[in-house]
């Protein structure tokens, strides 16, 4: 058998070396694309909305007034207080519904179930999280709306209660799965140590697992809040969409996101109204940015410790 000779050895750069470096450059560009897009989002909505913010309104006009009448030709009002109240009331109710239930569900899945039950519940939760928001809006509009009218004997079923329930059901699966991850991230040796001392399952859960996972759970709640805050189609369809400072859960309201969705199509580019909608966009972007940032920092804190 003849030994096969390789080409004489040299440590010079060859084609493979250059290909590797080109690929490294290409994937690097793709890698920083996420940064580019986030910065791009900020730049482009600021570009369209900043003119309006700088030239036409004062801080008090926007945050001190609850009148949103941008299409009034003589004296348009750009107060977003009522819109903020709408978003806040709906998100608030949604969180009241979603937080206890999703944490309860997460505890059940992570600590009290196992095997096939656990797997199928997780799959089910994942599927629930996938239902599109426009379908949720439609459900609020056509199923929950008559139901609320009949149950509570109110003239309109499209209100804070409706949207809050819908948003709660929407946010819960996401919060459940993040909270479940946080609970699972608590090392088993904590549980074993507590169980070895004779603690029962629920004692372990409350005294050991929950305190250890509290940052992750807080992160889950924050992400749920961010999700509720930014939800558009469902709140557009289920709130009743009327500018209103809500007194009760049966009042119709209008949300920040829904306002943009409903009015952007009717405005001319460059008009004050158009700029005002982009300004709301800047506001939303910054709020969700802060929420996501803090959620991320909190969750990361868990991983580091």
């Amino acid at each position: 058998m003849n030994p096969v000779e390789f080409a004489p050895r040299s440590f010079q750069r060859n084609r493979d070396w250059y290909i590797d470096h080109v690929v490294q450059g290409v994937v690097f560009i793709a890698g920083i694309s996420a940064i580019v897009f986030i910065v791009g989002i900020f730049i482009f909505i600021t570009k369209e909305g900043m003119g309006f913010v700088l030239e036409h309104v004062t801080f008090r006009d926007v945050f001190g007034s609850m009148y949103w009448e941008p299409s009034d030709e003589d004296a348009p009002d750009y107060g977003i207080l009522a819109l903020v109240a709408g978003t806040a009331s709906v998100s608030g109710l949604a969180m009241i519904v979603a937080i206890p239930f999703s944490l309860g569900a997460a505890i059940f899945i992570a600590e009290f179930s196992s095997g096939a039950t656990r797997e199928s519940l997780k799959v089910l939760i994942e599927l629930l999280a996938a239902i599109p928001s426009v379908v949720w809006g439609f459900i609020g509009l056509s199923i929950l709306n008559p139901l609320i009218m009949r149950l509570f004997d109110v003239p309109v079923g499209l209100n804070v209660l409706n949207a809050g329930l819908i948003l709660g059901l929407m946010a819960a699966p996401i919060m459940t799965s993040i909270a479940e991850d946080a609970l699972k991230a608590v090392p088993d040796r904590y549980r074993e140590a507590a169980e070895a001392m004779g603690a029962t399952k629920w004692q372990v859960t409350f005294r050991v697992v929950l305190p250890a996972a509290k940052n992750g759970l807080l992160g889950a709640v924050l992400l749920g809040v961010g999700r509720g805050f930014g939800e558009t189609m469902a709140v557009l369809m289920a709130t009743g969409h009327s500018v209103n400072m809500p007194d009760s859960v049966f009042d119709s309201v209008r949300a920040l996101t829904a306002t943009i969705a409903a009015e952007l199509g009717e405005t001319a580019r460059g008009s004050d109204h158009y700029g005002a909608l982009f300004a709301i966009g800047i506001f939303l972007f910054m709020i969700t940015f802060v929420i996501n940032l803090s959620a991320d920092l909190i969750v990361r804190g868990v991983k580091n410790s």
Binding site: M1, F6, R9, Q12, D20
Partner: protein, 275 residues
């Protein structure tokens, strides 16, 4: 000039025998004042070595003595290891490896066998044909020859010749380790590095691999890091003892075992009192 094993053993004085065999051999690996740090921790400090061509050079020492870090530095894996910082000079064949233009070509000239066998998730054939393919060999007949030759030399051919198409990662531990050696040989290396290859291998396979190494010494320089002191004694011409990031002592292997050593710590380790 390479003497055969028989000649070497014929000479009674191991030191004289080594000089007779290696004095005229060129220096294959030269390590000068090598210091390796991971962040704040220094894992290797001030190491000097020179390994002759066709020598089997053994390294013994307890865990965490910096042996594996030395191997990583030798084929520039520090590049891909976050936080690893290498200072000092390493020359291979007289060529400073810090200034090598194409580290991939450098690595191709160094075969490495890990403590735990790694069968790539490819067929047995593709495992061994991997490096030649990287080197640009495309012809199937040529690949067939290389694969068979490497598997034969790693004493694995007879066991796998009928299932070259099954997955390499599903072979037994001992077979995977020989597959790894076949793969290292398929690179046609000048230097073969073995890092505690016998950890995950049964004694019979260990002995078979040791026989393979005795054959291979005729063609390449072998750097054998081992956790078995007796393995170093069986194979290595010279042996270095590493402890806590320092190269305590380098000596003719036989001398370390049979004569008074320079450093008490070496004696303690060899006799099993530390590490």
């Amino acid at each position: 000039m390479v003497a055969t094993d028989a000649e070497a053993h014929a000479t009674s004085d191991p030191e004289a025998a080594w000089h007779q065999r290696f004095d005229s051999a060129p220096i294959e690996i030269e390590v000068n004042d090598l210091t390796i740090r991971y962040g704040e921790t220094t894992v290797l400090r001030g190491v000097n070595l020179d390994i002759r061509k066709n020598e089997i050079f053994g390294i013994i020492g307890p865990a965490n003595s910096g042996k594996t870090s030395l191997l990583k530095a030798l084929n520039r894996m520090d590049m891909f290891t976050p936080g690893m910082n290498v200072q000092g000079r390493i020359r291979i064949n007289g060529c400073d490896i810090q200034t090598v233009k194409n580290v991939y070509a450098l690595r191709r000239s160094i075969g490495v066998v890990f403590p735990l066998p790694v069968g790539l998730p490819l067929t047995v054939f593709e495992n061994v044909a991997f490096a030649p393919r990287l080197g640009g060999v495309k012809d199937q007949a040529e690949l067939d020859i290389i694969v068979e030759r490497c598997l034969r030399r790693a004493a694995l051919w007879d066991e796998v010749k009928d299932r070259l198409d099954s997955l390499g990662s599903f072979l037994s531990g001992g077979q995977q380790q020989r597959l790894t050696i076949a793969r290292a040989l398929s690179q046609d290396p000048n230097i073969l590095i073995l890092d505690e290859f016998s950890i995950a291998v049964d004694p019979v396979t260990t002995m078979r691999i040791e026989d393979v190494l005795k054959e291979l010494r005729k063609e390449m320089t072998i750097l054998l890091v081992t956790n078995l002191v007796q393995q170093a004694r069986r194979l290595a011409d010279r042996t270095a003892f590493f402890l806590n990031g320092e190269c305590v002592e380098i000596g003719m292997t036989e001398c370390l075992f049979t004569r008074p050593v320079l450093d008490q710590r070496t004696k303690d380790y060899i006799e099993g009192r530390c590490g």
